[in-house]
């Protein structure tokens, strides 16, 4: 009964989405207020039904309803409840429903927090989002129905892939999708602006908070995926340039360019057609990611099981959405003339360079990801492009970009001189080069690459601090000056600081991390990274739905015990898949990591031990970036906008908030 309800709810949602995607748009085009007013209620009603469908699927999982094919394929009665819920988005059909649900949440949020928007705009924005929703609902109903029944019902399910039975994997997809889907808001705003022919600073100001929040979620989602892959898969790495990882990283890069570009459009009125194009790109890349992961064109550990029929649908959808937006862009954008005029050396042009670098970085990743496919399609052979390629091509593009983090804020709008900027920043230049290149000396073996990377990180932090001091200098005291700086500024400070933290983490763990595969008999000791690891044998045991062999490693440093690591080898009962569960002792400055291999013929075990210095800084940096984004999005002027709008509503009784003018 419940699955049928869910299915029906999806059908109803589709009908509402069709209405939402068409009527308000025509209403905006022809100036019919009644039609435009349909947008918000349609969005809320549609969201309600999608949410209902989602709840129905979750219920089916919790209740172990194995008459639903999707539940039977991805769950099991022995599966702990938490994973039964996360199994909802563990495979193709359910993750599509998650996509649709998150889209519904964003739509409702836009409908709710947009009182100050003119009716035409909100009609168009919700209309575009409605059309996107139509695509996903159709996709589900036509090719990937999560509520399909299995007759006769299975006795028990095939269990969730053991790799996914993990807290990280519970949170990672929802965060990631919130980011991906959130870019549809920026996209919808861009399309609305193109359709309405008005790309002014107001449009940029409305789009900005939505875009920044979506970007923050995407940052967290990607970081979670990287962190999960590090601790779960036992390979000690944190990024493989796998096609699916790239599919999430590309929209992030363009999203970063977009938030910077929106800032310029809002403040200076420049870059308008650029910003619109970036908004279209960001969401297009989200959709492209969906295509790459579900169509079977690329090989990836991440890819969902699929068939070409689904691939054809998504490709058609992708073609329709992106194709029509680019046509609209080609038609309308030439008429949009940016009002900014600025000299060759100015903050505007540096931000343009920033955009170009980020887009080229994205293009290089896109090239590497689809080049093997392209060659194969043209019958020119079969190659692979993996981490060696991406590292060689991507890193050099990033170097000038991160240097700009320091140069940009120190450069004036409209016109400045490079020499003046250099003079202003000379302290940072000197200290970062000296201290940065000196750092590897402390570590023993010298490496120029490490020196350069540390110099860059220091450069970022020093220039950020100097900029804060410069901007806070206009008040009576430094403290008053700092207090007067808006949240959006601190958001930037936090995010840029995060970039520096990230660079330090990546560099130090790559350069100074140690990995050793050793044969250990009971009582054997091995030294890694200054720590001593003593192997105390392996015990057999059981978990809720698996059998485990647990090893014990006593770790000490200079004779003092630091921790006991218990790496496991598990065999899950249902899928009979063996899995390594690594044991990690985390720390801010280093991780100690052990994984159990195999029992060797002589009774000893093969054990892998890692010493990973500063590895947590990688995800810490990402967290700083995400928090910076959220902080910036919560800036007063966006909240002031909302308050002002409600004050403008015909309420005679007092309470009209007279807030300070938005900056």
């Amino acid at each position: 009964m419940i699955p049928e309800l869910g299915h029906f709810a999806l059908v109803l949602a589709l009908c509402l989405a069709l209405v939402q995607g068409t009527v308000p748009m025509f209403g905006a085009a022809w100036g019919i207020p009644g039609w435009m007013a349909l947008a918000r209620p349609a969005a809320w009603a549609q969201s309600l039904f999608i949410l209902m469908a989602f709840v129905c699927l979750v219920t089916a999982f919790i209740q172990n309803d194995f008459s639903v094919s999707y539940v039977a394929q991805n769950s099991n009665s022995a599966l702990p409840v938490m994973y039964r819920i996360s199994a909802v988005w563990g495979a193709h059909e359910g993750s599509l429903l998650l996509w649709a649900t998150i889209l519904a949440v964003w739509m409702s949020a836009v409908a709710l927090f947009s009182r100050s928007l003119p009716d035409e705009t909100i009609a168009r924005v919700l209309g575009v989002m409605g059309l996107v929703s139509v695509g996903f609902l159709l996709f589900m109903l036509l090719t990937s129905n999560p509520f399909e029944r299995l007759m006769p019902a299975a006795m028990d399910g095939r269990d969730l892939n053991p790799l996914l039975q993990d807290p990280g994997l519970v949170v990672h997809p929802p965060m990631l999708y919130t980011g991906y889907v959130g870019f549809s808001v920026a996209f919808a705003f861009a399309i609305a602006a193109l359709l309405g022919g008005r790309l002014d600073s107001a449009w940029a100001r409305w789009s900005r908070p939505w875009t920044i929040v979506a970007w923050s979620f995407l940052t967290v989602g990607i970081a979670l995926g990287s962190w999960w892959s590090y601790y779960e898969l036992g390979w000690g790495g944190w990024w493989f340039w796998d096609p699916v990882e790239n599919a999430s990283f590309m929209p992030w890069l363009v999203g970063t360019a977009l938030i910077h570009s929106l800032a310029v459009t809002e403040k200076r009125g420049a870059f308008r057609s650029w910003t619109v194009l970036l908004a279209v790109f960001a969401f297009s890349l989200s959709l492209l990611g969906t295509f790459l992961v579900r169509s079977g064109v690329l090989t990836s550990v991440h890819a969902f099981a699929n068939d070409p029929k689904r691939g054809v649908f998504i490709l058609a959808f992708l073609g329709a959405v992106v194709g029509s937006s680019l046509v609209l862009y080609a038609w309308r954008a030439p008429k949009v003339v940016g009002s900014g005029n600025f000299q060759l050396y100015s903050r505007e042009s540096l931000l343009l360079v920033n955009n170009v670098l980020l887009v080229v970085a994205m293009a290089s990743i896109l090239t590497g990801t689809i080049y093997p496919l392209a060659l194969d399609a043209l019958n020119l052979g079969k190659i692979s492009a993996g981490p060696p390629y991406f590292n060689i091509v991507f890193v050099p593009i990033m170097v000038p970009l991160v240097l700009l983090i320091g140069i940009g804020p120190a450069t004036r709008w409209k016109q400045d001189s490079p020499w003046q900027v250099l003079r202003r920043l000379r302290f940072a230049v000197l200290v970062s080069i000296l201290a940065g290149f000196a750092y590897p000396l402390l570590m023993g073996s010298y490496s120029l690459a490490v020196g350069a990377a540390m110099a860059i990180a220091l450069w970022i932090w020093l220039t950020t601090l100097m900029d804060m001091r410069a901007k806070a200098a206009h008040k009576t005291s430094l403290w008053a000056g700092l207090r007067a700086l808006p949240r959006s500024y601190y958001g930037m400070v936090l995010a840029h600081t995060g970039v520096g933290i990230f660079i330090v983490g990546v560099t130090l763990v790559t350069a100074y991390g140690v990995e050793e595969d050793v044969r250990m008999a009971v009582g054997d000791s091995h030294e890694v990274g200054g720590y001593s690891f003593r192997f105390d044998g392996v015990k057999e045991g059981e978990g809720p739905n698996y059998t485990a062999s647990t090893g014990t490693l006593h770790v000490s440093k200079n004779g003092k015990e630091v921790t006991v690591l218990r790496p496991e080898k598990r065999v899950y009962w249902v899928q009979r898949m063996p899995m390594t569960e690594a044991a990690i002792h985390p720390g801010l400055l280093r991780d100690l990591y052990a994984a159990l291999g195999e029992r060797l013929p002589d009774g000893a075990w093969s054990v892998r031990i890692y010493y990973k210095p500063f590895v947590r800084w990688i995800w810490l940096g990402a967290l700083f970036m995400a928090f910076g984004g959220v902080l910036a999005a919560s800036d007063r002027r966006y909240r002031v906008m909302a308050k002002r709008a409600s004050a403008r509503a015909p309420a005679i009784t007092g309470g009209g908030a007279t807030s300070a003018p938005a900056r």
Binding site: P162, L163, G197, R198, L199, L233, G234, W235, D242, T299, S300, V301, A303, R332, K335, V336, V337, N341, F342, L344, S349, L352, V356, L357, V359, V360, A363, S364, T367, Y371, L375, G381, K382, I383, S384, A385, G386, P387, Y389, I392, V393, I397, E515, D517, V518, R519, K569, M577, P578, M579, T580, A582, A595, L596, G597, E598, L600, S606, V607, R608
Partner: protein, 159 residues
């Protein structure tokens, strides 16, 4: 339907890898340099039966065999090029995670930098031209084009 069934069966036969089990094999090396070379090589080589994993990570049977091959070749004194050639002769360029630089891959290797260069050049020229427009320093040709644009009927869509 038969085609898809075949593909599925093939996948079953090919994918006898336990992707979730880290590949921990112990190899003995006489010196650190050889060990370093070995680790570098197995990270550059692709596991042919896996869903995108390197020889270092994969625990598939073929991956274990190939790691053993590479180990033996490193121990017997072969250099990196010879080892890579050995594998490419048998499995093609697919086995390399670092694609070779040849005619079909020039675009892959040099494309991004070319695009960057072109992008920067266009950026500089566009910004210069716009700045010149604003400060009134136009060439004769540009002045003529400016008049052309200004003389066109006004578009109601202009912001």
């Amino acid at each position: 339907m038969s085609g898809r069934f075949q593909a599925f069966m093939l996948l079953l036969a090919l994918a006898w890898s336990a992707a979730a089990l880290a590949a921990i094999s112990v190899y003995d090396f006489p010196d650190a340099q050889q060990e370093h070379r070995f680790k570098h090589l197995i990270n550059e080589l692709r596991c042919l039966v896996c869903q995108n994993q390197s020889l270092a990570e994969s625990n598939a049977g073929l991956a274990q065999d190939l790691r053993q091959e590479v180990y033996e070749m490193v121990s017997s004194g072969k250099n990196d090029d010879q080892i890579l050639k050995f594998l490419v002769d048998r499995y093609g360029d697919f086995v390399l995670y670092r694609p070779p630089v040849e005619a079909t891959t020039y675009l892959l290797w040099f494309g991004p930098f070319l695009v960057l260069l072109v992008g920067l050049v266009i950026l500089i020229r566009t910004v210069r031209r716009r700045a010149a427009l604003a400060t009134g320093t136009l060439s004769a040709e540009e002045q003529q084009r400016l008049h052309q644009v200004l003389d066109q009927p006004k578009d109601k869509d202009q912001p």
